[in-house]
């Protein structure tokens, strides 16, 4: 019997439901067990190691030594399972020990690697949100690497343990179950502008009420201000004036629309003051920082102010955020909108116009200019802006370097045999060997069923199976070899593209991401959302519950008992009616007003 089976056998006896769940976990490839220098196994998630890569035992010992031990009889809860190096010392000393691990994958790998039976026998392993039966109050110790991966889960646990008055999981665990009102704030221009539109659509498809505050129309004005003065300071002042006006407009919009959530995309015209004002008006503010934190440093100001700062990079960004005192951050990678980026039947004319053996759509960053100069012997078309028409790449640049609409991009993606995707980098010549995050193009191309060659990125394996769903390169030579090979093997190309498309449609659409985002925001701010309505009650059920002398009972008796009934629904019906309000009607309106007042934050 190997370790895994031994663990599972004990778990089946002590917590069968958990055993069942862990047995079904498929661990994604970016969760890896590797060897530390001293030969012991350690766990890596992406590039982040949960234990010391030199001597995990010594590190675990030091950690345990440094913790304040629980007083006699006090239960001990440790956040973060890892591979057990840190908490094993408490098995003997703590009266009752619980280890809470937020990730199913980590728990599964630990089950495969470490003998957990002493913990499992005392029912001490809790996975995910299965901690609502833990004794309170308890001493809580934190495994820092797990904390950085799972800030939100930690906050939830911490809050639960700290406040014994907090009601049961039914309310504490309120996942978004009620349609939210969401105001999406677009930037004035740039790569995140279309993402704002995709987000708005995705929120709506998820059943929420979403509206986008479109700042695109302000961009011409913003540009026009550049023509006014030659003094940079003056221009800056004018632009700031416009941005102030836009802030004001956002606040007015929010005051009228009263969103539960303000969802801002990178580069959106938000500053700390405005964020504060929006929060004061009762909205949660989330910011999706779809930028490279090394290039764009404005996160330092915004991240501490918002209720959730969602990022597309992990370490060392997490450490930088922690250092800046930011607590409410979480990982939220990019995705695609499969209704925009889709398979398309093209006419022969369109195929001629948009098609080529090799295509690239995007702006002419320095590293792209360099790499693509090595591909000029192929049938190459370059689409997009910021290219130098007078450079050796000039003949390959389409439409005089005009910007390409999303609709045309879809046609190009569909028409080209190979689509290149080279992540931009202002720091590196050629291909960035340390690139981590994925750009939207990776997902958009895949969603179109287009075959892409993409430069290797650290995060890639957690989204796609390299070689099966996507093909990568790390040098120009390798790129040329791949081009030669895949131009010659159309069936392989199509098979890979098809698998890539299936993968994004299954896991990487904006709907998937934003559903997750709402959970993350709630985790980072427990109780973030106006409480969801209790499950629908039918009039019949309600009549049974009400005492006989209730005025509501006689009021409802004339209606169909199978109809479902909610306070909001009744209130709307009453408000639309005419004539004198009866007493039950008045009370229902009163309660509904009260409920709305609570949501607004003022009665």
């Amino acid at each position: 019997m190997n370790i895994y089976e031994k663990n599972l056998a004990v778990l089946r006896k002590t917590r069968p439901a958990l055993a069942e769940r862990l047995g079904q976990v498929v661990v994604p490839p970016h969760f890896q067990v590797v060897q530390a220098r001293n030969g012991q196994p350690i766990l890596k998630i992406g590039e982040v190691s949960l234990h010391s890569p030199y001597d995990p035992t010594a590190e675990g010992q030091r950690w345990a030594w440094a913790q304040e031990p629980p007083s006699a009889g006090e239960p001990l809860v440790i956040f973060g399972l890892g591979l057990g190096y840190h908490w094993q010392y408490f098995l003997d000393t703590a009266d009752s020990l619980f280890v809470v691990e937020p990730s199913l994958e980590v728990a599964r790998l630990a089950l495969e690697q470490v003998d957990l039976t002493p913990l499992l026998e005392r029912q001490g392993l809790r996975v995910g949100r299965d901690f609502y039966d833990l004794p309170r109050p308890a001493r809580l110790l934190v495994h820092q690497p797990t904390l950085r991966q799972q800030r939100g889960a930690y906050r939830r646990l911490e809050r639960w343990l700290a406040d014994p008055s907090q009601p049961g999981p039914a309310t504490a665990d309120a996942v978004v179950g009620r349609p939210l009102k969401i105001l999406v704030i677009s930037p004035l221009y740039g790569g995140s502008y279309p993402i704002a539109q995709y987000c708005t659509r995705a929120f709506k498809r998820l059943g929420h009420q979403a509206e986008m505050l479109d700042h695109g129309p302000f961009f011409p004005a913003y540009k026009a201000l550049e023509q006014i003065s030659r003094t940079p300071q003056h221009t800056l002042g004018l632009k700031q004036g416009l941005l102030r006006l836009i802030s004001e407009a956002i606040l007015v919009k929010a005051a009228e629309y009263k969103p539960d959530l303000v969802w801002a995309l990178a580069q959106a015209p938000l500053d700390c003051q405005l964020i504060k004002a929006l929060q004061d008006q009762g909205s949660r503010v989330a910011y999706w920082f779809v930028e490279d934190f090394r290039v764009m440093t404005y996160w330092r100001e915004l991240a501490p102010a918002v209720d959730a700062f969602l990022v597309i990079q992990e370490e060392p960004f997490y450490q930088a955020l922690e250092k800046a005192g930011v607590e409410k951050y979480a990982f939220l990678p990019l995705a695609t909108d499969p209704e925009i980026f889709r398979l398309l039947e093209l006419s022969p004319a369109e195929k001629r116009r948009f098609g080529s053996a090799l295509a690239f759509v995007g702006a002419g960053y320095l590293n792209r200019r360099q790499v693509f100069q090595g591909l000029t012997d192929f049938d190459l078309k370059i689409w997009g802006s910021d290219w130098d028409l007078k450079s050796p790449l000039g003949p390959y640049i389409q439409c005089q370097g005009a910007r390409i609409s999303a609709e045309d991009s879809v046609k190009i993606f569909n028409a080209s045999r190979i689509n290149l995707n080279l992540h931009s980098s202002p720091f590196h010549q050629g291909i960035n060997p340390e690139g981590d995050y994925l750009n939207p193009r990776v997902f958009d191309l895949a969603a179109c069923g287009a075959f892409q060659l993409v430069d290797w990125r650290g995060q890639l394996p957690r989204f796609f199976k390299p070689g099966e769903e996507i093909v990568t390169f790390t040098t120009v030579e390798e790129l040329r070899q791949q081009i030669d090979y895949y131009l010659a093997h159309p069936e392989e190309r199509e098979a890979i593209a098809r698998r890539g498309r299936e993968r994004v449609r299954r896991q990487h659409t904006y709907e998937h991401r934003l559903a997750q985002a709402l959970q993350l925001i709630e985790e980072l701010n427990p109780g973030a959302w106006p409480t969801r309505q209790p499950p629908a009650t039918t009039i019949g059920q309600l009549l049974n519950r009400l005492p006989d002398d209730s005025s509501l009972k006689s009021y409802l008796a004339r209606w169909d008992p199978t109809e479902t009934v909610s306070l909001e629904g009744l209130a709307t019906r009453i408000a639309q009616g005419q004539g004198k309000l009866s007493e039950p009607e008045g009370i229902i309106l009163f309660l509904n007003e009260f409920r709305q007042g609570l949501q607004r934050g003022q009665l």
Binding site: P167, T171, R244, S247, E248, I250, L251, V252, A255, D271, Q273, L274, K276, A277, D280, Q281, T531, P534, T537, L542, R545, L546, P547, S550, S551, L552, S566, L567, A575, Q578, G579, K580, L581, E583, P584, E585, G586, I587, I588, L589, F590, L591, E593, F594, R595, G597, L598, L603
Partner: protein, 511 residues
């Protein structure tokens, strides 16, 4: 009007409840033998329990209701139905609803009492009717610069004028000496926080002022506030020299409402923004130096009673709306300098004469509260020339007083400033005359004169609100439909004649 059983509904914040006290005293004076009950949020209960004007406090636990509503809306229904039933059993013959809120409006409707004053439900319970006085206040809020009526007086005049002298505001609470207090301590209280950050004086200024006070007087500073404001207190302490920190007693987040009252009552002075603590101090008879800026306007929510001081920052844009994101004049928080506050305190504590050279107080006015026939008004201490806004604002106040049928003088015009000279005088006269013309003839050729247009806004809003209400199924004011336009005409006349009186007086001065 007779009444045997009266219910006052005040469900808003603590500050509002304190601002309701003079209304309760007035009601008690008018109806000395009636039963007077107050419906309020449970948080405010300690302020009213044992109050000599009040027979019974009926607390509603809004926090508990909101919790219940989340978990079980039908349970919440039963609870409210129970409340309504128990209120109905009291057989109130008069209800005063002083909250602009659908909640109290619906409750008032559900009680089915013969008379509701204040915000009244329509006959079908679906709409809201403001009494002409409330419609007038509602109209003034459309151009707040012109508003000169204190919220306490708004509430007070919801009860008919008393034939008997009103009970003097009852000093209530604060009778117990707080633990740790010895009577040899001389205390000045500071309330650093404020509900809206734009109303808040910078902590750095409080720190400078504190240092100055500790140097000059043998006293202790008392930091008041709720738990959320602790950071402000810590920032202030950090800014003080170490030796001075012992002279500060930090009570932020450590007092119940009763304890806060006890401490506050021992203070010789409270320095504060526009806060609930300020209203509590004024109510307890503790002198107040209030620092008003941003959206806060002392005429509306200044400390009630005689002899309080207010430093009001008065940039051209004041008072601003609370919901503005950014502000070009964010400087109004910096306009009141710590030296100014120190000078007022030296006057109050040390008996120093106030330097009232208005050039030394740029952009800031110092007001002192005093009573007139309508209630409390604020008299500027720094001599500045009359402005159009000033005069029209006072005219609106006067018209409000006449609307209520109250005789008696307001503050005389020379107490609000002096007649400017030269061009400024001409322009002022021209503008006032134009305003009068519009009032008289009803034509509105005011294009290009934003101040004039703004001055007409409340009048138009008043008429419009009365007309809107005339369409509603009336309930308690059956004659309102006929009277709507008359009220508008009356106010127009009142405004016109006030201005006429002052103008002729001013022109008399001129010649």
């Amino acid at each position: 009007m007779t009444a045997e059983c009266i219910l006052v509904m005040q469900m808003a914040r603590l500050g509002d409840l304190i601002q309701t006290m003079p209304l309760l005293c007035r009601l008690r004076a008018i109806y000395p033998t009636a039963r007077l009950n107050v419906l309020t949020d449970r948080i405010g209960e300690p302020l009213l329990t044992g109050h000599p004007a009040v027979d019974e406090v009926i607390p509603v636990d809004l926090a508990q209701l909101s919790q219940l509503l989340r978990q079980d809306s039908w349970g919440a229904y039963q609870q409210i139905a129970g409340l309504v039933q128990s209120l109905q059993q009291q057989r109130y013959d008069l209800v005063l609803n002083i909250n602009f809120s659908s909640l109290t409006r619906l409750l008032a409707y559900l009680l089915q009492v013969p008379r509701v004053l204040g915000y009244q439900p329509t006959a079908d319970g679906r709409g809201l009717i403001r009494s002409p006085w409330l419609a007038y206040i509602y109209a003034l809020v459309h151009a707040r610069r012109f508003n000169r009526i204190n919220l306490v007086d708004v509430f007070r005049h919801l009860a008919p004028a008393a034939e008997f002298p009103e009970l003097a505001p009852v000093l209530f609470g604060g009778q117990d000496q707080p633990p740790g207090y010895t009577s040899t301590l001389r205390l000045i209280a500071l309330q650093l926080g404020s509900r809206h950050h734009r109303r808040r004086w910078p902590v750095a200024f409080y720190a400078t002022l504190s240092q100055r006070l500790i140097q000059a007087y043998d006293l202790r500073l008392l930091l008041l506030g709720i738990k959320d404001e602790c950071q402000l207190g810590e920032n202030l302490l950090r800014a003080l020299p170490v030796a001075y920190r012992e002279r500060v007693i930090n009570l932020q987040g450590r007092t119940s409402l009763a304890e806060l009252s006890d401490w506050l009552a021992q203070a010789q002075l409270l320095v504060t923004g526009d806060t609930g603590t300020m209203h509590l101090a004024a109510y307890l008879g503790v002198p107040v130096l209030a620092l008003f800026m941003g959206p806060a306007l002392c005429f509306e929510t200044g400390p009630y009673g005689n002899g309080h001081y207010v430093l009001q920052a008065e940039p051209d844009c004041h008072p601003c709306a609370e919901a503005r994101a950014s502000c070009d004049h964010a400087g109004c928080r910096q306009m009141i300098r710590p030296e100014m506050a120190a000078a007022v305190i030296d006057h109050l504590l040390g008996g120093e004469a106030l330097c009232l050279d208005s050039a030394a107080w740029p952009g800031v006015q110092l007001y002192r509260s005093e009573s007139d026939a309508l209630g409390v008004n604020y008299r500027p201490q720094l001599a500045r020339p009359w402005t159009f806004v000033n005069l029209v604002g006072q005219a609106y106040r006067r018209a409000g007083q006449q609307l209520l049928g109250i005789d008696g003088p307001g503050l005389p015009p020379n107490s609000w400033g002096y007649l400017p000279s030269g061009m400024r005088r001409e322009m002022l006269f021209r503008k006032l005359e134009k305003f009068q013309q519009v009032l008289r003839k009803g034509n509105s050729q005011t294009a290009g004169e934003p101040e004039l247009q703004e001055a007409l806004v409340p009048l138009a809003a008043f008429q419009q609100e009365l007309r809107r209400q005339a369409q509603l199924p009336g309930y308690f004011l059956p004659n309102l439909n006929a009277d709507g336009d008359q009220y508008g005409a009356c106010v127009t006349d009142f405004l016109w004649s006030s201005l006429e009186g002052w103008l002729s007086q001013a022109k008399g001065l001129e010649t």
